[in-house]
Point group: C2
Chain length 450, copies 2
Amino acid sequence: MRKILIIGSGKSSSYLIKYLLSKSEKENLFIIIADKYIAKTKALLNNHSNSKALKLDVFDNVSRAKEILAADIVISMLPARFHLMVAKDCIKHSKNMLTASYISDEMLALNNKAIEKDIVIMNEIGLDPGIDHMSAMKVIDHIKEKNAKITLFESYTGGLIAPESDNNLWNYKFTWNPRNVVLAGQGGPAKFVQQGHNKYIPYNKLFKRNQKLEVKNYGSFEGYANRDSLKYREIYGLEDIKTLCRGTIRKVGFSESWDVFVQLGMTDDSYTIENSMDMTFRDFVDLFLPYSAKDKVELKLQKLLNISESEPIWSKLLEIDLFSSQKTITIDKATPAQILEFILCKSWTLDPNDKDMIVMTHKFIYELNNKKYQIDSNMVCIGEDQTYTAMAKTVGLPLAIATLAILNSKITVKGVQLPVNKAIYNPILKELIDYGIEFNEYEIPFQTQN
Amino acid sequence: MRKILIIGSGKSSSYLIKYLLSKSEKENLFIIIADKYIAKTKALLNNHSNSKALKLDVFDNVSRAKEILAADIVISMLPARFHLMVAKDCIKHSKNMLTASYISDEMLALNNKAIEKDIVIMNEIGLDPGIDHMSAMKVIDHIKEKNAKITLFESYTGGLIAPESDNNLWNYKFTWNPRNVVLAGQGGPAKFVQQGHNKYIPYNKLFKRNQKLEVKNYGSFEGYANRDSLKYREIYGLEDIKTLCRGTIRKVGFSESWDVFVQLGMTDDSYTIENSMDMTFRDFVDLFLPYSAKDKVELKLQKLLNISESEPIWSKLLEIDLFSSQKTITIDKATPAQILEFILCKSWTLDPNDKDMIVMTHKFIYELNNKKYQIDSNMVCIGEDQTYTAMAKTVGLPLAIATLAILNSKITVKGVQLPVNKAIYNPILKELIDYGIEFNEYEIPFQTQN
C-alpha cells in the first residue's frame, strides 16, 4: 500500500480525507493523519480500514522524521510558518510534499536541494493560492496561444457566507480562521500595477480603496487588493502587462465598515492591553478614542472617524454590540486584535445550519489584431454543511488530486513549485469539474472604460 | 590619568567632548574617542593633549573589549541597538557606563549582573530621555514632599529650528538625524492615561490627535503623544496619577501636514520601491494614489485625503516640491521612508548660519487641602552654531556631568539606572544652570478645563 502522510488536520481537511479515502481501495492507498489532537480526525476517518489517525507532536523532530521516512508522500496542513521543518525532512528522506500555502522565501531557497533529491515540493495548491493560479493560467495560456496580447488581469477571491445563511448586516460570518480575517492586510502594503503604473496601498487605506465587482448570476461584491500582485507578472509570464491586481472579495459595504477597526487601531496584534480581563466592549472602544468630559463613546467615535448615525456603517457597529457596557472580554493580556476577534466571534459565528460560499472572479482584457476583448471567468462554490464546507472542498480537493497525480507520476515536475504549468493545472481543473468546481467563462463586449 | 572612553561620535558629541576637555587638567582626565571615522572628531579635539581620537571598528569584539578594559569609564554614543554589546563588555570588565538612550528590555535584564559587578549602567541621561526625567522628578518630588497628590503630568520635548532661522512654511528643518524624524511614531501605538482612562493611539491617527501647547515667552506649539507613557507611572512613582502623557513638540500646523505622508504610506521603511533610481518626485507620489485616466496627481491626492488647495497643508506640500516632474530620486532600491527623507532633505537642511532650538515643557496639576494647583515648567535652549547645537548641548552636557560625577563618586547608584533619583538629578540640574540650561517654573492659577 502507498502511504500518504497528512501532517496537521484542521477545518480544511474534510474533503482532502474524503477524496483520498474514496480512492484508497482502487489506488491502493493508506492515509495517515498525524496531529496532536485526533478526536475530530477520527470522526472524519470513521474507522476506514485504509486509514489511521496518529497522535503526533509535530515539533518532536525524531517522531516527525520517522513518520515522513515511512511515508510515500507528505501533505503539510500545518500553519504556513511550520511547513519549512516538514520540507527539510522531506528533502532529507526524498519524499514528495504538498502544501496549500504561499511559497515563502525560505521554501523557495530549497529548490535546488529538492531538484537534487528528484522530488517536488508543490505549494499554493489549494484555493487562493491554488485554484486561482490554475484557472487564471488556463485562460492566460489560451489567449497567448492565439498570439494575442494580455493587457489586464484582475482576480478576486473570497470566503463568504452562502446567500441562504446571510442574515447579518455585515453580510459576513467567520467561515474560516477568524484570526486570519482580523490580521488580513497587515503584512505590508498591497502592491499592484494599473495601466502601467505601480501602486502601493498602505494598510490604513486598504479597505477604503476597494472597488465594485459584478459576478454574473451572483450580484454585486467589492474587492480590495491583496499582498504583492507585482511578482505575479513574472510567475504568470505577463511581464509587460499593463494592469495586474489580485485581491479579496467581500459583500458590498463590508470594507468601509471594517476600516473603522483599522482606523481605531483595533486590529493591532503587536502589544497587549492592560487589564483586558473583564473589560467591557464599550471600555475597549474607548481606549482608542480621545478623552472627553462630556461626549459619549458613540459620539467620540462618530467625530473621530466622521461617521453619522444614519450611515450603514453605524448600524453594523451597533449590530455587533461594540458599545455594550454589559458584555465583557474574558481574555487576559490580550492584544487589540485578539479582543476584536473575541467581540466579532460573538456575532459572526456560524449557526448550526449555516453554509459557506467561495466566490472567485477573474477578468482578462487582451488585444488581437488591434481589437480589444474581455473575458470574465467566475467560480462559485457553496458548502454542504459545517464539516464539508466550500472552503474545505476548494482547498482540499486540488491538494488531494495533485497528491494522487504525483504519486501516479501524472505530474512529474521537480523542485519547489506552484501550479502554473499546463501539465499540472489541466488534469486538476478537469477533475475538479466532476466535483462541481467549475469556472464559467464569458466573452464580454469590451467596454472602453476598462 | 583617568581614562574616559567614548565609543562612537556623532552630531551630539561636541559639547560632551568640550565639557570633558575643559575639566581634563583639573580633574586629571584623558578622553579617548573611538570610532570608525575620526576626521570630525579630530577637529573637535583640536590636538588637546589630554585626548586621543582612536580609529576603531566597534564591531571588532577583541579591539573593543581591549579599549574598554583599559578605560576607567565608558560612554556609548552608538545607535541605541548597539549599546548592549558595549554593556556586556563593561560588565565583564567591571566598568561604569553611560548612554543617552532609552533602556531596552535586554539592557534592563543586565541589572543584576551590573549590581554584582558593583557598576552603574546609567541610561536615558541625555535630553529626551534625560533632562525630561530629571526636571520632572525635581518638581514631582517637591510636590510630594508637601504631601500633595499629583493628578496630572504632561511633558513635551522637541528639537526645532530657532526662531531667527525659521524661514519655511513647515517651521521645521532637520536639526538632528532625519531618518529618526521620518520613522517617528512607528514603534507601536502611543500609550498614555487621561483622566483615569488608558488611551492607545495607532500610528495612523497619531499626528491627527495632536494638542495645542503654550510655552510662556515662546508662543504656540503643538504636541503629539510619544511611545509608552503608561510605564512612567511606575518609574516616576505616580502609580495613581489620573493623567500622564509624554510627547513631541512641533510648531503649530506641522503634524496635520506630516500626516499626509503617513496616510499615503510614504513613511514605510519595510519594503523597497521598484525602480526608485531616477524616479521623479511626482511619480513617487503617484505610487500611493489611485489610478485615474484624467485626474492629475495633485487632484488625486486632494481627493484621496480631502485637502483643498486653500489649506496651509497644500502650500507646505508645494514648498517641498513634492509634485515636481523635474527633480528625481537618486537612490536605488529605496524604501518609501528613505525616499521621503531624500525629498525632505532637499528642503529642510540647515543653512550655514541656521541655529537649532530645544523646547521642553512640563505641566503638573496637584491637589493639596482640597485645592488644585498647576505648575508649568519650561526650558528653551538655542544652539550657537551647527557644531555646538542646542541638541548637542542638551544631550551631551548631562552625559558629561554624570560621567564626571560617577568617576568622582558623587553619584554612587549601582545597576541599570535612569536618572530619577534626587541624588542623581540634583547635582546635574544644578550644574546645567551654569551652562544656560535652566527651567522656568510658573505657578499657574488652576483652570477648571484641565
